[in-house]
Amino acid sequence: MKTPTALVLELIEAIGDDAVVWHDEDLLVYEYDGTIDRGNPDVIALPADTDDVSALIRIANKHGAPVTPRGAGTGLSGGALAARGGVIIGMNRMRQILNVDAENKTALVQPGVVNLDLGIEAERHGLAYAPDPSSQRACTIGGNIAENAGGPHTLAWGTTTNHVLAVELVTADGEVQWIGHDTRDEPGYDLVGCVVGSEGTVGIVTQALVRLVPRPTAVRTMLAVYDSVRDASNAVSAVVASGIVPAALEMIDKMTIAAVEPVLNTGFPLDAEAVLLVEVDGPESQVEAEGARVESILRRFEPREVRSATDHEKREHLWAGRKGAIGALGQIMPNYYLLDGVVPRTKLPDVLDAVYEIAERYRLPVANMFHAGDGNLHPCLLFDEREPGATARVLDAGGEIMRVCVDAGGAITGEHGVGLEKRDYLPWIFTDADMDAMKALRAAFGPTENFNPCKIFPAGHGCGEAGHQHHAQQQIAKFGPKAFV
């Protein structure tokens, strides 16, 4: 029988024994998030309010134990993993929507609120919460803030950072502070902007005041099927150049089409190379005018067909192939590795060619789905982790694909963050001086040694050998470690 450590006992005393998880068999389920990597926490603490969070951090500090915040653990860069053990602070029990102010279009929420639950509550007030990551059914607002999450509707509305007005933050030394203001433009530095996207390395968000937007009265979704990725990409560029800002502009490639068609009966021709989805929304008259213009632009690039829908059910049917893509891929191979790169929009076709080439070289099926309007691509490498060596091949191929994005003038993450997984690749886009400046910014929020350690910046001392690291080193050896700017 395992006996609790002094740290565990003190945590239990602070927040009660039904809020502390410390038995070995229970810790096993907190080893992972949505990535391949693993981390082994010593204990999980589940606070009920801000004071709990502050107390927990202070206790952990007293014992010299690392602290890692966790939301729903859907992250795709290992941000919520306890890379050096210690305490995971799970924010999922703080899940109340404290207030919706319909007049000022804001909501005050606890960080454990699930993105979609906020969306549903906003809808009751005729409003919407704009950032809509595909993981919205499960991921939390706290995790969204940490990763600056985006989604299909990011094109028109911006990422999470455009929707957070203020946060209550418990810093690494346990201090509680409100940052930001309910007015939209606060004098002085944009500190909220520093917290959003900080990947849980500057403190724990315990409340957030977020912006809500009006619900569009009309929506039109169009789907166009193309014979080449280049045509589809050119169509994307033309739509954007026209000055219209669609609510969403998404693309899926041939492999994705092949995967979704048999499962979801989307009616896509199996030999098509790309399917584009464009959505416009707003007042009825605007949607009608913009919809017609977008459609005529789409038709200029010789699509096989264009479909269009305005009522909810038919629109959902058009979206089915995009939204159900990940699941459908599971029918081909049990595991996927979802990459996240951004490139200038015009480079999409070339980058995609390179992605196919790399995947073929590593003998890995690859399916692509992208937020095409933002140049944010998500190559999805398919594999079976039970096959010896498969995971290693995936990680190597992933590294090369990231390099292609960097070489094209892009970056190694669009919305999933650097976290544990991509930290070793950071020097590909930042110089040492850049990284030092970022570390200094982080240090301004509080001590950094033990707070969500081993994330974002290339491996420091004691971070151990994370699963992927060896592969990252290989790629870096191949392409050189330095910033490519």
């Binding site: 949505g34 653990g73 859907t74 799970g90 979609l116 639950d117 499960a138």
Partner: protein, 450 residues
Amino acid sequence: MSIAPLDFESIWQTADRPDAGELGLCVHCGFCLNACPTYHDLGVETDSPRGRIALMRGLDDGRLSWSPRVQQHFDQCLQCRACETACPSKVPYGRLMEATRAEAFAQDRWPRRQRIIWRVIMRGLFPYPRRMRLAGYGLKLYQMSGLQSLVRCSGLLKRLAPKLAEIDALSPNADRPFYSNAEAARVSPKQTPRANASLVTGCMMPLAYPDTHRATVNVFARNGVAVDAPSAQVCCGALHAHGGDIEAARDLARSNIDAFTPVGSELPDAILINAAGCGSHLKEYGHLLRNDAAYADRAAAFALRVRDVHEWLVEIGFEPPIGRIERRVTYQDSCHLSHAQGIRKAPRQVLTSIPGLELAEMRTPDRCCGSAGIYSVVQSEISQRVLAEKMSDVLGTGADQICTANPGCMLQLDAGIARFDDDKRMIPRSIHAIELLDESYRLGDEGQSR
């Protein structure tokens, strides 16, 4: 799927073990977390779908020992399968959990008391229609003699045996004449039937909800279907399979296959079922008996004919009812109809076809009510909290009545109304859509409305 050779060191001891390939389908994306009632309630990932799958994998790859703590996380699963609806990777969670429970059962991983009670009730009572009926008469006596009201009012039971008091709160109202399988053949379509069906009447429904069966036969006869109810049928075995008593479940399945599809006879057009939990299990007979050389093919053929009443009614088309029922009804998606069988629209189509009836949707109509077979008795604390949340959603709709599709859900929700409907505004008994349809037909014939 092939069965891995029995590995000497493996924690699994039977061929019913969770399939390693199916376990491998989980990519721990976490999409299922927010759909899970126990994760919602307990707020720990050990009691989430992803967590439970990780525990199964931990057992499978030898990293974990099967401690009582691990067993508890398995026991606390409602088997509602909301996680399957949420899962993009199509992990067959229900099947994995049933397999895990089958192993737990085979390996004696339950406390002794629980095993004894299981053997007495689930093996000694449920499989035998005649014993069930006797128990039903006992309950009738208890209720009609006024003893039940006495016991409930005095609160004596609550103090002496709280567990029994919970069971008492969940006991069905046995005030209607029990259903006899012979009744079905007495109702026949007016014209030559366009199809024929055999009704699965089950173990508890004839005692607790006999009118649902009467309504089912009436409705199908009216829509040109000849319905019979084979007299040799027994309990479908769903509760046994969910609990892990897979051998008892197989015995019951074989008896039913013999009763409904005797060798040499023609299969009915549909094997009809109006209880969601039974329906989803009957559709799994093929899987259950896949390794039984004598029954595998017959089981697969049987499973293909199984149809939920709503599903089939919509499939074959039904006469629009004209009798008005002025009532605000909220529909609770039984987990084993929505999550397990993917049937969501058909019951709503039936309900909205009734003139005057207003369907008032809950915010989360497909969240479990906490009944979950015998869960409401063995895990009563979690069950009651899940029910409390459900009832607040129900009461928020302002509905007069709850409509749902499974006897367990009906019992649980009726207990919920008794406990939470403080203003006594709601009709205290929930109802099956097929009964409302039957009533509307009847009112139409009588030229009345309600």
